[in-house]
C-alpha cells in the first residue's frame, strides 16, 4: 500500500469516528458516564467521612463453645458491610476469647466477598489474658496496623492462597504443636494425615461454578495453661452440605422424603457414603473424612469438632447439633495433649 493510500485510509477511519462522536447516542453515553463518575466520587467522599458502626461482640467469643452467637455476630457484620457501613468490631469488653474465633475473624476480614472492600477497625480485648492471646496470635500480621502490634507472634497462623495441599506446612504444624503438647518430634501420623485431608477437602467441597482455588487458614495455638495445642483449620468455601456433591445426594433423598435437615446426613458423610458420580476417579475417592473420623478417636485428641453450614459435629462424643446460624465454609477444630 502506497503512502497516499495509507493516508486516505487513515482519514476515512478518522472521519467515521468523528461522525460517531457527533451522534446523539454517543453524547448521551458520554454524559451518563461523566455523571456516574461524579456520583461515584461523591459516594466515595461520603463513605470516607462516614462514622464507623459499632458492632459489639458477645461476651463469650468462643466459636467452638458459643458457636451460634459468634456466627450470628459475624453474619450480622456481613449485613453491615452489604449495607455499605464501616464496621468497628468491638471486642474490647469480651470476657472469653478462644484461638478458633481468631481464625474465623481473620479469615472473614481478609475475605473480600465478606467485607465487600468496606472499611473496618477494632481494638484488642482489655482483659490482659485475652489481650495477650490476641496480640500473640499473628492476627496483626495480616491487617493494616501500627508497627508495635506486629512484634509478638508466638503461634502459627498460616493463610494459603496457592495450593490446596501443602505437605510442608502440615509437617511444620505437626512439629509446632507436638513439641509443645506431646514433647516429641517424631511423626505422629494421625495428626499429619488429618491436616493433609483437611487441606484436600477444601477443594472437594467447592461448588461446581467456583473455578478459583479456595484459600484456607490454619492456626496452631500452644496453650501454656493446659499444655495442649489447639488446631483450627478453616476454609471459606460453600461448606460441606452446600457442596455440589452433597447437595446432589441430599436432593435425591428430598425427592423421596421431602425436605430433610442437613443433620440427617451427618452419619452418611462421616462414613464416606456420600460421593460424586461425575468426578474423575469417583469410585476410589471419598475416604478423607472417614480417615479424619477414625483418627479423631486417638486419645491424644482431647477435642475434635467440625462446623459446616448449619451443623456442628463432635467427633469425640459422636454427637451433632443443628445450628440456628450458618457458616459458609468448613471449620475443623481439635486439641492435642500428652497421654503418656
Amino acid at each position: 500500500m502506497s503512502k497516499k493510500e495509507k493516508n486516505k485510509k487513515y482519514h476515512k477511519i478518522r472521519s467515521v469516528y468523528q461522525a460517531k462522536r457527533r451522534t446523539k447516542k454517543w453524547k448521551e453515553r458520554k454524559r451518563k458516564a461523566l455523571l456516574q463518575k461524579k456520583q461515584g466520587f461523591v459516594a466515595k467522599q461520603k463513605y470516607m467521612t462516614k462514622p464507623y458502626t459499632n458492632h459489639k461482640a458477645p461476651e463469650d467469643m468462643s466459636f467452638i463453645d458459643n458457636t451460634d452467637e459468634v456466627l450470628e455476630y459475624f453474619n450480622d457484620a456481613k449485613k453491615l458491610f452489604k449495607d455499605k457501613e464501616k464496621v468497628e468490631f468491638d471486642i474490647k469488653d469480651i470476657s472469653n476469647l478462644t484461638p478458633d474465633t481468631i481464625t474465623l475473624m481473620i479469615a472473614k476480614l481478609k475475605d473480600v466477598s465478606y467485607t465487600r472492600k468496606g472499611e473496618f477497625k477494632g481494638e484488642a480485648p482489655k482483659e490482659p489474658k485475652l489481650r495477650k492471646l490476641f496480640m500473640e496470635s499473628g492476627f496483626y500480621n495480616f491487617v493494616a496496623t501500627s508497627r508495635q502490634n506486629k512484634e509478638k507472634t508466638k503461634n502459627l497462623l498460616h493463610k494459603e492462597a496457592d495450593y490446596k495441599v501443602r505437605p510442608n506446612i502440615a509437617k511444620q504444624a505437626c512439629l509446632f504443636g507436638m513439641k509443645h503438647a506431646l514433647g516429641r518430634t517424631a511423626p505422629f501420623e494421625p495428626l499429619y494425615e488429618i491436616l493433609v485431608e483437611c487441606m484436600q477437602n477444601t477443594n472437594n467441597h467447592a461448588s461446581a461454578n467456583d473455578e478459583e482455588k479456595l484459600k484456607w487458614w490454619m492456626f496452631v495455638y500452644n496453650c501454656e495453661d493446659t499444655n495442649t495445642s489447639k488446631y483450627s483449620f478453616l476454609d471459606l468455601g460453600v461448606g460441606i452440605f452446600e457442596s455440589i456433591i452433597v447437595k446432589n445426594y441430599i436432593t435425591k433423598f428430598a425427592k423421596k422424603l421431602g425436605a430433610v435437615p442437613n443433620t440427617h446426613f451427618v452419619q452418611d458423610l462421616l462414613n464416606g457414603n456420600i460421593q460424586s458420580r461425575i468426578d474423575k476417579d469417583n469410585e476410589i475417592r471419598g475416604k478423607g473424612i472417614p480417615q479424619i473420623v477414625a483418627h479423631s478417636s486417638f486419645d491424644e485428641f482431647a477435642k475434635f469438632q467440625i462446623i459446616t453450614n448449619d451443623v456442628k459435629i463432635d467427633l469425640k462424643n459422636k454427637t451433632h447439633v443443628k445450628l440456628k446460624n450458618s457458616l459458609s465454609g468448613t471449620f475443623y477444630y481439635w486439641e492435642i495433649k500428652n497421654v503418656a
Partner: protein, 112 residues
C-alpha cells in the same frame, strides 16, 4: 518370587506424602504413581520379580495419597497382580501397612 528392586519412599520420593493429584499440591499420589510406582511395577511384572516398597520414615500416608497412588494402580492392574509383584516393609507402623493393603485389595470400598 525374588525381590530385585525397591522404592524407599522417604529417600526416593518424600517424607511428606501429599495430596491426590499433582494439581492439588506437591508430593501427590499421582506424582508418585507416574514418577516411580508405575514404571517400577511394570518392570517387576515383565521381569517376573517383586518390588519392595519401604514405607518407613515418613510423616504419614493421607488416604488421598494412598488412593491416588496404590488405589489407582490396583484399579488399573487388579489387586492380585499388584500384590503378587509388590511387597511392603513397615517396621514402624503396622496399621499404616494394613490400610495400604486394604486399599489395594478393595480400592472402591470406603470402610476404614
Amino acid at each position: 518370587m525374588e525381590i530385585k528392586d525397591k522404592i524407599i519412599v522417604r529417600n526416593d520420593f518424600s517424607d511428606t506424602p501429599g495430596a491426590r493429584y499433582k494439581s492439588d499440591g506437591p508430593n501427590s499420589g499421582e506424582l508418585f504413581l507416574e514418577l516411580l510406582l508405575t514404571e517400577k511395577f511394570n518392570n517387576a511384572v515383565i521381569g517376573n520379580y517383586k518390588l519392595l516398597i519401604d514405607l518407613d520414615g515418613v510423616w504419614g500416608y493421607p488416604s488421598s495419597f494412598v488412593s491416588g497412588s496404590f488405589g489407582k494402580l490396583s484399579v488399573d492392574n487388579g489387586a492380585e497382580k499388584v500384590l503378587k509383584h509388590i511387597e511392603f516393609k513397615s517396621d514402624e507402623n503396622s496399621i499404616r501397612l494394613e490400610n495400604i493393603l486394604k486399599e489395594i485389595k478393595n480400592p472402591k470400598k470406603k470402610d476404614q
